[in-house]
Amino acid sequence: MAASETINPQRKQARERAAAHLLSRHHFHWAEALPWVIAIAAFYVFPDRMTFGNQVLVMVLFALSLDLILGYAGIVTLGHAAFFGLGAYTVGLGAARLGWTEPISGLFAAALISAFAGLITGWFLLRYRGLTLLMLTLATAIMLQEAGNLRSDFSGGYDGLPGLEFKPLFGVFGYDLYGRTNYVYALVVLAVVFYFVRRIVYSPFGQALTGIRENVRRMHAIGSPVHRRLVTVYTIAAGIAGIAGALFTQTNAYVTLTVFDFENSAKVMVMLILGGTGRLYGAFIGAVVYMVLEDHLSKLSPTFWQFGIGLLLVLAVLFARRGLLGLLEDAGKYLKKKKVQS
């Protein structure tokens, strides 16, 4: 093996390069500031559209929670609205029935209750795959909805819990007519949660989730407690979806059982797919593009909007499986290649 001795310096260099790449790749990149800059700019540019902006932020948060399960761990669920709905009703019922109107503690309560539901259902359901899992997750959300309907005297049923009132944030910042307080509130919550999600995704645990998505057989073979990993991430994602739901109720001061709809689960999935799964910022792009398009097109014609979304999904599956962010990346690579050639 004399040859290997002579290429040693070269090999050392390769090792150093690889190690350096690993150590630096999850550092903060300047482009990551972009969505936040845009969100803050929107606050000043569209002061009269803050209610809509706030809805977008809630959906970004909801999509981000789904990305943990779907994008990173590769688990397809048709019932993620269950946890959004639980969070929404935790603060809704808390305010309407218990007089618990302090918003921040409400968020924590919603996160805890939804996470607990995620832990229990996840522990049972995540042993299954394929159609069985799809049906079980779907049935979970619908059962919650039907249970709410069964006790509509308590839950308000499909008429909803109207006219909820929440205390001003920190006892200071109250509700304003243009929803500006709500927008800032939602943006701060999103930023805090995003920081946690980013850490989780780039942690060794997050890497293990990616491993489960890439090859679950191999994960078993290298000794990974796959079920425990999945239940953990499902619980976290459920908690975050609960926070999104709680924000939804608090900022709309209104909630009905439609939050548990299959359409709600499907919609958040479509947003995520549109933006790109398993890439953190896919949730941002997908939710914003979807909501803005919906806002414009559904006013023109809800029928065409629905047709368009359907067509978009079909096209995405056939031609752009990595979503808009994937397309952007491909375009970037293509341009770079062209530059190198010329």
């Binding site: 989780i200 645990f205 890439e214 290298i222 000794g223 990974s224």
Partner: protein, 252 residues
């Protein structure tokens, strides 16, 4: 001294078809045993039963004297039982280096950590690179596995098993699907593995088997036909009739 791995009369059937029939097998520490037999003899099924990917209908399996028959696949892996797959089972969308870092992370329990940044531990990266170095994969460290040619992917398969620091290693046709010009590298690697590891290798190439193995087990139709040293197996009439004859026909 307790054996590294002991299989006691495994049985397994799929429906009416019995694919494993009263199979017993022992790997002493540092064993170099080959498992041979015609296609469909139940060799891969046996590996799946040992690792826990399949549950036996009856029988026991002991790892270093401990009964692991009812433990999970992951638990067996953490106790030092590693395997490679006949068809690559890799994290194809991750880099080669990440494949190794993830394996080491799961081995050491680092993957329970939700907060620290992955790849921030120089010791893990160093160890991963050592494994890649020993298989001459360092230059490919940052490439995605799916971008590598199949032969190189085969090496990653072995690197992952080694990164588990196993005490017992089951190699399921490590050179399968690799052109013969490259397969010698894989087999060199296998030959130079730590002598403390007990190894069971499934292999069709008789040259390799006779060069590598100190003991050979021959399986036919789900049962063990005969066990012995390479010399004994080569001269065994039954084996010649059932297995080697078929092999030589195939090569002819």
């Amino acid at each position: 001294m307790t054996a590294a791995l002991e299989v006691q009369s495994f049985n397994r059937s799929f429906g009416a078809l019995q694919v494993t029939c009263d199979v017993s097998l022992t790997l002493e520490r540092g064993a170099r045993r080959a498992l041979i037999g015609p296609n469909g003899a139940g060799k891969t099924t046996l590996v799946n039963l040992i690792t826990g990917a399949l549950k036996p209908s009856s029988g026991r399996v002991l790892l270093n004297g401990e009964d692991i028959t009812t433990t999970s696949q992951a638990d067996r892996a953490r106790r030092g039982l590693a395997r490679t797959f006949q068809i690559n089972q890799l994290f194809r969308g991750l880099s080669v280096l990440d494949n190794l870092c993830l394996t080491i992370g799961e081995r050491d329990g680092n993957c329970n950590n939700l907060w620290r940044t992955a790849g921030s531990n120089p010791a893990v990266i160093d160890e991963a690179l050592d494994h890649l170095d020993s298989l001459r994969l360092v230059d490919d460290a940052l490439k995605l596995v799916r971008e590598l040619p199949y032969g190189r992917q085969r090496l990653v398969e072995i690197a992952i098993a080694l990164a588990q620091k196993p005490r017992v290693l089951l190699l399921d046709e490590p050179a399968a699907g690799v052109p013969s010009s490259e397969s010698h590298l894989i087999l060199d690697v296998v030959a130079s593995l730590d002598p403390g590891i007990a190894i069971l290798i499934i292999e069709h190439d008789m040259d390799v088997v006779f060069r590598f193995a100190k003991q050979i087990t021959v399986m036919v139709q789900g049962s063990v036909l005969v066990e012995g040293t390479p010399g004994e197996i080569m001269n065994n009439e039954q084996v010649r009739a059932v297995y080697l004859g078929q092999e030589s026909q195939r090569h002819a």
